[in-house]
């Protein structure tokens, strides 16, 4: 059934009835009202004018009311050995697939619904992810069923893996993954948010993640979007970093027909640091859009950003990165780099670095490049016996590896590396 944009939105708004705690019910109601008022963004919204959402509007997305039961074998390829694992299937917590045993003292990892009464949850839920101006954050807040809650009060070396799996259903499904990460003062952890699908399912995942870093806390936040190429993914992540804290994000977009990731980091306390690493690797007719905003709201904060897009086939990759320096945020040190690789004549990449500076005492560097595979490097490799295809794949892989290698979980780096090799080899049709 082909839908109009209006019908698609109406269908999403129907949602389903979800029971909520008394503190949460009013938030849901308000979010529902905002969603209705905001409706889908249009080309007139500056933040959305480059993102073609029309493939999304063609589907009739239904809420998920009965749950597929997956076996451990179904998710085996996605697992990170030794990690603390929370698994959500179509937005619902799957305790039998999860493994919380590796969590030591000082680490609480659970379903959000189970921890609904937790003071940290009530204090931080929907505080950072602004649904007033964002339809998708509003839809998520209105309709999310469950989510992940991570509360770290000490230093932990065990990675925390939050795996969201969308299954193939009879009708296209709307799923609302949710995640709240609270890092107490002086805590340290690595959290991997992972979004995957199955069997070319047509799913629409609208995800919201909120991250709170206390003073001197350190978090490496990995985000892997490897949904099916028939799926749609819109993610919104809001981060607040207190003084002295260090937030590192490594975010990958490989999957989905259309994907979008909004990452908003507020450096709230003096001397906070953020490093944002991003990679979109797409082909075919995929669209991948990353919008980031780093808000230097305090003095002497540091931000570093490296975002890479690789587009093959007739794909369209978009990067928009805003750096804001508030009045009074003296001694700001920021550097942003956007590097892009076009693998085909039909692929398309837009990159938009944006600086908004309300302060004199700052160092803000930024740069962007868009290029093709370097002809000299290609000839060099051929002169060493590599075929054209091998040489192109090696160079493409090397371009992507610079981001992947920043993930501090070796087994994940290895498996993502294999994914990239399959991609650049065109084994799954993402290539030419």
């Amino acid at each position: 059934m082909t839908m109009t944009k209006e019908q698609c939105f109406e269908q999403l708004l129907l949602g389903k009835t979800i029971k909520s705690e008394s503190w949460l019910a009013p938030i849901r109601d308000k979010a529902g009202e905002r969603a209705q008022a905001l409706n889908f963004p249009t080309a007139r919204h500056d933040d959305w004018r480059l993102t073609d959402l029309s493939p999304l509007f063609q589907h009739d997305f239904h809420p998920v009311d009965s749950y597929a039961s997956l076996s451990p074998a179904d998710i085996d390829a996605l697992l990170i050995p030794g990690s603390i694992r929370l698994v959500f299937v179509d937005g619902s917590f799957a305790s039998s697939l999860s493994d919380l045993k590796p969590a030591g003292a000082g680490v609480t990892v659970s379903s959000l619904v189970e921890r609904s009464g937790d003071a940290q949850v009530e204090a931080n839920f929907a505080r950072l992810a602004d649904f007033e101006q964002d339809t998708f954050a509003a839809l998520n807040t209105r309709f999310f069923e469950d989510g992940a809650f991570v509360h770290v009060t000490s230093e932990t070396a065990v990675p925390i893996h939050i795996l969201n799996v969308a299954t193939k259903r009879e009708t296209p499904s709307a799923i609302y993954p949710r995640c709240l990460i609270v890092m107490a003062a002086n805590s340290l952890a690595t959290v991997i948010e992972d979004f995957a699908g199955q069997n070319d399912g047509i799913n629409f995942s609208s995800a919201v993640t909120e991250v709170v870093l206390g003073e001197d806390a350190q978090l490496h936040h990995v985000r892997v979007q490897r949904e099916e190429k028939s799926a749609f993914h819109i993610g919104h992540c809001a981060v607040e970093a207190a003084s002295g804290s260090v937030y590192t994000s490594t975010s990958l977009a490989f999957g989905a027909r259309v994907s979008r990731h909004d990452l908003h980091v507020t450096l709230r306390g003096e001397g906070a640091e953020a490093t944002l690493n991003g990679l979109a690797l797409i082909g075919g007719r995929q669209i991948a859009d990353t919008h980031t905003r780093i808000d230097h709201a305090s003095p002497r904060c540091i931000s570093r950003q490296l975002h890479k897009c690789i587009a093959d086939g007739a794909a369209h990759a978009i990067f928009s990165g805003k750096i804001m320096v508030r009045e009074g945020a003296s001694g700001t040190d920021s550097a942003q780099s956007s590097r892009n690789l076009l693998l085909s004549g039909k692929a398309h990449i837009d990159t938009q670095p944006q600086l908004e500076i309300f302060n004199d005492d700052v160092s803000c560097k930024h740069g962007a490049t868009i290029g093709q595979i370097d002809a000299d490097a290609l000839f060099f490799l051929k002169s060493r016996g590599f075929s054209e295809e091998q040489a192109r794949n090696l160079l493409t892989h090397a371009f992507a590896a610079e981001i992947i290698d920043r993930i501090p979980v070796p087994s994940l780096v290895e498996s993502l590396d294999r994914t990239i090799l399959e991609r650049v080899n065109g084994a799954d049709g993402a290539g030419k």
Partner: protein
């Protein structure tokens, strides 16, 4: 060394080549047999670098006439990678940097591609490490350079040594060294030259393309060819290089 009856590796006849429609090579003839060291000298713009790139198959250059056979095969019917697999090697004048590809991974992949071509066993990373340990001695390279990205942040001398390391690993039948001496200080030049000398056997050959005589003090050529105006205008023994050093190139231009 010149030996009667050695196998002919490369035979170039009346080679013409152009870049962007401008003819640079205007009838080059050259025969290289196994065991020989050839030097091709000439001023900038004489066509000597073009000659090396045309032999390696650089896509910017078009062959407009003449022939080249490599061990009897028509060289110009082969893709650059096929030429490499057949045993032709070009050491680049300006080696490229490849961020994200480690030197050792590049060498192993290239080595295994050739092993495959030759019907020999591929080496796994551990076996290859042992092989590399021996090969880096040829160019006196610090093993730390192996784990770094190809040529990234290398000095000029380190890049040239890295080219010779690739030659040591790939063991080509014919190596063309394109201005390998340019930009090298005397120590680096000595190391690079000593590396090349160690790799010379009665079965392979080297063509050195150079502007200056000084490399030839370290790698002694059997033949010196002078290129001018896209042709080889004079061929002699190693003493010709000394004469060029003393008299310059002008007298040959006049002769041509």
């Amino acid at each position: 060394m010149i030996k009667e009856g050695s196998k002919t590796l490369l035979e170039v006849k009346n080679l013409h080549a152009a870049v962007e429609g401008v003819e640079i090579l205007k009838g080059v003839d050259l025969t290289v047999r196994a065991g020989e060291v050839h030097a091709i000298m000439g001023i900038n713009g004489s066509g000597k670098s073009t000659f090396s790139k045309v032999l390696a198959g650089h896509p910017d250059y078009t062959v407009t006439g003449g022939t080249a056979t490599f061990e009897g095969k028509d060289l110009f019917s082969l893709e650059p990678e096929e030429r490499a697999r057949a045993g032709l090697f070009l050491a680049f004048q300006y080696p490229v940097e490849i961020p994200g590809v480690s030197n050792s991974a590049l060498l192993r992949l290239a080595y295994n591609t050739l092993q495959n071509e030759r019907g020999l066993e591929e080496l796994d990373p551990l076996e290859f490490e042992d092989l590399l340990e021996e090969k880096i001695k040829v160019v006196e390279m610090d093993p730390r350079f192996l784990s770094r990205s190809v040529n990234e942040g290398f000095s000029g001398g380190e890049k040239k040594r890295n080219e010779i390391l690739q030659m040591a690993v790939l063991e080509p039948k014919l190596a063309i060294l394109d201005e390998t001496d340019s930009g090298l200080d005397i120590d680096a030049l000595r190391i690079v030259a000593s590396g090349v000398n160690q790799l010379l056997t009665p079965d392979n050959a080297v063509i050195m393309v150079t502007h200056y005589q000084r490399l030839l003090n370290y790698i002694v050529p059997d033949y010196v060819h002078v290129m001018s105006g896209g042709r080889i205008v004079k061929t002699g023994g190693k003493e010709l290089a000394l004469e060029l050093e003393a008299r310059g190139y002008d007298w040959l231009k006049a002769a041509a």
